[in-house]
Symmetry: D2
Amino acid sequence: LLRDRPASTAAMLGAFGDEALLRAALAFEAALSRAEADERLIPESAAALIIETCNSAPFDVAELAADSAFAGTLAIALVRRLRAAVGARDAAAAALVHLGATSQDLADSALMLQAKAGAQLIVAEGRALAQGLEGLSQAYAGTPALGRTLLQPALPITFGLKAVNWLLGIDAGLRRFERECDTALMLQLGGATGSLQGLSFAVVERVAAQLSLAVPTAAWFARRDGIAGLAASLAILTGAAGKIARDLSLLAQGEVAEAFEPRIEGRGGSSAMAHKRNPTGCQVALSAALRAPGLAASILAGLPQEHERGVGGWQAEAPSLAALFELAHGALAAMREVIDGLEIDTTAMHRNLQAADVGEDTGHCAALVRRALDRYRAGH
Amino acid sequence: LLRDRPASTAAMLGAFGDEALLRAALAFEAALSRAEADERLIPESAAALIIETCNSAPFDVAELAADSAFAGTLAIALVRRLRAAVGARDAAAAALVHLGATSQDLADSALMLQAKAGAQLIVAEGRALAQGLEGLSQAYAGTPALGRTLLQPALPITFGLKAVNWLLGIDAGLRRFERECDTALMLQLGGATGSLQGLSFAVVERVAAQLSLAVPTAAWFARRDGIAGLAASLAILTGAAGKIARDLSLLAQGEVAEAFEPRIEGRGGSSAMAHKRNPTGCQVALSAALRAPGLAASILAGLPQEHERGVGGWQAEAPSLAALFELAHGALAAMREVIDGLEIDTTAMHRNLQAADVGEDTGHCAALVRRALDRYRAGH
Amino acid sequence: LLRDRPASTAAMLGAFGDEALLRAALAFEAALSRAEADERLIPESAAALIIETCNSAPFDVAELAADSAFAGTLAIALVRRLRAAVGARDAAAAALVHLGATSQDLADSALMLQAKAGAQLIVAEGRALAQGLEGLSQAYAGTPALGRTLLQPALPITFGLKAVNWLLGIDAGLRRFERECDTALMLQLGGATGSLQGLSFAVVERVAAQLSLAVPTAAWFARRDGIAGLAASLAILTGAAGKIARDLSLLAQGEVAEAFEPRIEGRGGSSAMAHKRNPTGCQVALSAALRAPGLAASILAGLPQEHERGVGGWQAEAPSLAALFELAHGALAAMREVIDGLEIDTTAMHRNLQAADVGEDTGHCAALVRRALDRYRAGH
Amino acid sequence: LLRDRPASTAAMLGAFGDEALLRAALAFEAALSRAEADERLIPESAAALIIETCNSAPFDVAELAADSAFAGTLAIALVRRLRAAVGARDAAAAALVHLGATSQDLADSALMLQAKAGAQLIVAEGRALAQGLEGLSQAYAGTPALGRTLLQPALPITFGLKAVNWLLGIDAGLRRFERECDTALMLQLGGATGSLQGLSFAVVERVAAQLSLAVPTAAWFARRDGIAGLAASLAILTGAAGKIARDLSLLAQGEVAEAFEPRIEGRGGSSAMAHKRNPTGCQVALSAALRAPGLAASILAGLPQEHERGVGGWQAEAPSLAALFELAHGALAAMREVIDGLEIDTTAMHRNLQAADVGEDTGHCAALVRRALDRYRAGH
């Protein structure tokens, strides 16, 4: 918590926390039983009892975690408990818990339910950040500033051109992420090897409908491009937030002093220097942008999984994917707060531009900003 | 060459080779001059001379490489030579070479021209592989085989279900790659800081049209999500090929012996054991799938580039992106050859299935294969 | 917890948990005050009160985490609380808490204290695994088995040669890790910019002695090769455990059936198939080996940190380093348990060897195993 | 060439080029025959003919590359040609070429010979850079400068403290690299499965002695920690060069203007702005530091290779390892040139320090520099 919390948000840590995972896993089991009863694979009474148990039975997360570690999967540990709780009231129904499903059905579907909740947070925060950037771009569309290339003074730009490029980066990142969600946020349900032995496609459709997840063409146990696409798109989105942070941390340097994170009492202080005002939001986004690529690479590296369900590959994905959601949301939230309260010193911008002695011709910057904003707005 | 050639194809190494890069760079300069003349920014005669020089002047690649290393960019070295060659016939025209453009305009546009050529190779090879997988899926839709999970015998499947999952992986990978190409394969043209100072948006549109590249909303010098999206999608596609190779290398094990790479005289031999038949195609695809994630991560890590054009970040991308194209094509081509000539031993499949003693109920496999093929075909 | 626990051990999760971090941070503050009193920089009475507060004051981890996220660092949040608790009894002493130190002094030193505890767990587990592998190598030094290359039958080996290569990999990995610990497990203490302003080198030496950490030549705030070396060596060690898991998961395949993880009631079961016995230990190690490289790469990517103390770089390291310790320990512990109870079927080995029809000449395998064991033992 | 040359040096590209690889492979074959004759495994006359052929036969690199790609390994293609050339003069001797060796013996040994040559270049360049940094540290040990943390003005340091930290980073990186070379630069010779069938340990020792490579305890075909250690240490060393580049690129900003790369006619120019002076050396090192982590991760990800010799894993290493040598040397050479001619503006340092209004107390900086230099010198 002490190390994860500063890098993310309470909301996203919650979405990928133990309670949420447990709820998602139980929702999967409940939906499965409901669908199996609807398809007459199990008695209605058994389904009702299983669903009631899923909704009400208390589970100790620490015990479940230790058991999962021992058994090798959460499903084994959780299903055993569910069966015991159901069996205490109806021995026959106990055997119908998790009927036809396999551990990875539960693990992947629960992960997708968490990802779906996480995706809503990402999009909401990302769109709020984009709105801030849109305002910034428009307000400073014509404000001259020094353009810098290879960290050297180059030719003039307007500050709005810088801001609209941030916007285009975030917008493109959100679109890519949403496209990936469209194809990736699917139910997983195939049974041991994906053959749906003992199940039927109608069960798959009913479970998917209940959980509001897409229906897969076939089980994707060892076909992980959806997960990989999510991971990569989160890393790219995080990088787009990191780009804003990179620029702002450079603009906030003492010698440049063109833009500053908002002054928030108690934030950005130094434990050694009372006078100091650290770019804490930028730090969060830059940290996230450093960590995300390696996490995405881990998931990409796991793509060639063995046969119908691999050994080690899919088990490695959930922690990395959760971390990517957490970092992306942390970075977006940090930048949104920064952009919403950004302090801009146009006098310093003018001073630095003059000192660079590169003239004041900002070329077509203002027109480019308008053009970019028009296109951005047309896309929504 | 000795180390790169076995991992890729001659065609893709050519598309990202020195000659292709030089041609692409010269095509950019020629198109720029043409557009500037059409927009009356430079005289028609100067444009004609510059274009003629681009088309005919001989350049020594080794010298250019050494000069580029010294100067810091290819553009400096190339433009200097172009100006000298033009200037020998018309001193005034020499100053109009590369007018208004910056080094990264040339570097990025040339990279995108190479990427466009590379993308055509990727899609052609990927579609050919998909066609082979489609045939395989259909032919073996109902052929019983042992399903294996965590590398252990599990429940029966059909071989067609395995094959159609390979197909879905390749198809999804190709679609993602094509989507990324749609947004990424853009012209770069912004001048020193993206302000189009001394240029105009009409010039941008004319150059893009000549080079058949998309028109950017604004210069994307430090907004690299397009490049990152290409890189990630190539890594995912390579992973989909690696998945096929993983399964086939496991199926070809002596004790399993269910499927084999085609026998090709002189390929897959061993320098130590004359009797041996190595899965050479699988080796190529698995190697590629190991290398691709790190290369993609390098590009993701470079996203937070500094200000209007960064220092080090964009310069790091081209070699990694070229390697990703080369590896993806190498992996797809290797798998296409393997799938087209795949030897399948259904007797061994039956024997292994019986030995596992898990019954012969293949569940809904055949129906799932048909369903997947219908969807796949409907998408094309 | 539900996702982290199966990938690691309770002991290592504890070593890098919130409580351990808090204890380490307070130990740093207590040692600093002790040293400053010994060097007459602060009154003895103030030191005594600060130390007592560090030892006894209750801190709510969830509150601290939220505050750290807000303030930007744990140090700010923790020192504020410490000062309040001390100040309640002696207002003057409150100002002497954390005197001369900066946030990163606390963060890095606490991380190193956790790493030191983690390193002991790693070495203990690794040595226990090595001992098991030594026994295995010796017992099967001359047992013929099929050697396999490119997943194809090749020439005979002995099973002991396979085992001794596992041993050499683990031993080399442990040696590298221990070498990296020798140089990396250092105190961090430099004050705001490493100048030791307001402190002295004697204070550094005294704090280091109290915490049993090495004395740094100079503060290493933005010189992170030690952290990077730790990270890389943990990834390599994890890979050595993954290599054992790769081989064992392949040997345990139904068609090969030469070696099996120990039968442990309740472990390795399947939620779908009662007959199944999954290689759960191998799964843990293979997952770890997939995740470790990307985590190490994240730390390597952060090396070029800015100026005296960077923005984003060092903040990104601790979660990745903690994960690397957790994964390495999880992988080693899983493999130790597997190796200690490994079931080996020499009849199957013989059968597979005969079926491959490659003769029975195991060459110099037995002598190579003896040679390797002699060298291994001589090194300890 | 056009893309690789600016990122490295002609010397290192040569060390890992096709000609060097071919020479190394032929040196291995010649040494093997010599050793086999000395151990009476083949006739002296056959060895003499094979060695003469290795030394004199012409090989076309492009043909060899195409053949290697087709056959799956360089060894097959090269040995076939060698046998043909030898067989043209002595049919019996042809069969004795490569006797007892396998493809990976040749591939790994050749890679280690190239790595050995590359290591000498790395150490020479790294030591030259260290010497420059030593001088810089000493010269500016007491020169006040602004210390910056989180890219904000913090407390004063001396410029020598910054420089000596660069030195400590490079020195630590070189020491780690040299340690890894000590264990990794080994001969590979085990025959098909490492059993030395048909060979003997005496042959291994004789070949190692001829090639000046260390003698392996046993063949390390699927035990790749040495390669991984080399890769990681090169990435860390590259990061240490990148750290210098990060700081210098920040110090060279127009608004900071404290230090500059040397003015070299024709280097660091801009194709768009004649007035501009780009930090070209820093760009090379920062690019290298971005690319190295992903390349190292690729090699780490390949550690769990299959059985006696894996499929895909070891084949993926050589291109990544070569690239790491090339990038490390490029980064060190770029920084050496920059440091040797570094322009330092102490007036600007003073001005920026005053503007930050943080006093002029540089604490123990000068003493820390002396202490660090003493330790550094004592270690050599």
